[in-house]
């Protein structure tokens, strides 16, 4: 079957500075794909090019249709949810309002039901439902960002370094939840991360990105076993 997301020869950058020099990878239905890479490898640029925040060249197909060059709001409507680096919390809105904005592109009646569901999946959010999002802790804001992304009932969720700035136990709880979502609800995910072992723990496949090009790829187990990867990203 065709890949849910197929990226080929993707080049992108900021003005005169080129970051991605032709990247190819894909994400199939129900998969969790991880892209590992150090700082400046081009991880965030990849996600931003895919969802249309920055211009890029090459081909990015969502379920067979080219989406490169379309505006972020159009790609969101097409089913791509993006949890940006630093969580992108809308600080002036409260928790419920943040979730409701997540469902902006949906027209159906079940939005309110979904809000209650996600508040139960993340009980801490449930306790703070009317609190200003800006006044919550980093971990809570990360949960809110993921819940907001899920509110759009997306085909594919892009996550940009969800572990950034979170306490270890919070990160573990976060990745466990992501794993559950994938297994129980079949949510396909593309996670860009530096924290390799947690990411690989829930991933089906992965790639390693260095200075704008894919250097190695393989199943989660292969990557976990690969010496280079282990030395570079697992710190063992």
């Amino acid at each position: 079957m065709s890949a849910l997301l197929a990226v080929s020869e993707l080049r992108a950058g900021y003005g005169a500075v080129r970051v991605l020099h032709g990247v190819d990878f894909s994400v199939d239905e129900g998969e969790v794909v991880v892209v590992l890479g150090a700082n400046g490898a081009g991880k965030t640029t990849t996600l931003r090019a895919i969802c249309g925040m920055i211009d890029g060249q090459g081909r990015v197909e969502l379920a067979g249709r080219q989406i490169l060059g379309r505006k972020p709001e159009q790609n969101a409507a097409a089913g791509i949810a993006h949890v940006p680096q630093g969580r992108g919390t809308i600080v002036d809105l409260n928790v419920v309002e943040n979730l409701r904005i997540g469902a902006y592109t949906r027209g159906d009646k079940e939005v309110d039901a979904d809000i209650e569901r996600w508040l139960s999946v993340f009980p801490r959010l449930g306790e703070r439902r009317d609190q200003q999002a800006g006044s919550m802790s980093g971990g809570e804001q990360q949960m809110l960002a993921i819940a907001r992304a899920m509110m759009a009932r997306p085909k594919l969720v892009l996550l940009d370094e969800p572990s950034l700035g979170l306490a270890p136990i919070v990160t573990q709880m976060l990745f466990r939840t992501l794993g559950d979502l994938n297994r129980e609800q079949g949510v396909s995910m593309l996670i860009v991360e530096q924290n390799a072992n947690l990411a690989l723990g829930i991933a089906t496949r992965g790639y390693v990105l260095e200075t704008g090009t894919i250097v190695t790829s393989g199943s989660a187990a292969e990557l976990a076993g690969n010496d280079e990867v282990r030395r570079a990203y697992l710190g063992i």
Partner: protein, 293 residues
Amino acid sequence: MSLFLTQLMNGIGNGAIYASLALALVLIYRTTGILNFAQGEMALYSTYLFWYFTDRGLPVIVAILLTVVLSFIGGAVIERVVIRPVEKSSPLVLVIVTIGMFLALNSIVQVQFGSDIKTNLPRAYPRHVWRPGDVQISTDTLVLVGVLILECLVLYLLFQHTKLGLAFRAVSSNPESSRLAGVPAGRMLMLGWALAAALGALAGCLIIPTLGLQASSMQSILVFSFAAAALGGFDSPVGAVVGGLIVGVAQSLTTQYIKSLSDIVLVVPFALILIVLMVRPQGLFGSRRVERV
């Protein structure tokens, strides 16, 4: 005592106008992050449109509605054509663009509609003054305050209880995350400018029949509205309304009770701003984030 109450009513009447324009300024600040110097002249252009329609014999209510709708569209067009291209550049450039619009609109009005004074603009409501116990209460003041309350109600309902309003607030707070959630940020910016233009048009259509229309009608009103918006805290609509009323009342009470300042009454709003900002640099209701230009 009746004199005090009368002057209070005068102050509240003026304050309602300053509040409406200050609301418009706050809307634009929250979406584009700048002080719109052209807000007064945009309201002036709308008011000349209103005069033009009534001069063509349109009934007053129709003329007001038509003016407000056209101003709404005009505000959106201005954002799309004039503001969007420079939206990413430095705040200084945006200040220059609004100053450019300020100069252009005032002059275009005179070339297009003639620079002579227009008086006897037809009124949407009969002008009547009651004098219970020597306290003057005029329909002008009541209508101005009524319209202000209506504006606040409409904005409150729009922002708190509609999907569009929620999207607008999301974009004002974090445009990037909103776009990632599928909210068309561009259209929200246009909405902000459109609402501001419509508010300015409504304020113009209501105050001008009482004051008479000429090219400089809006200039001193705008200075007081700036003061009102700053007093209330630039990013808070509630602050704009409260600020407007405070400035209006302070102005008329100074004229009455502080003779020495009466001929430089403009010192009042600015003194108020300085005092408040000394205590709370982000204004009465503003949030800390406001400081950066």
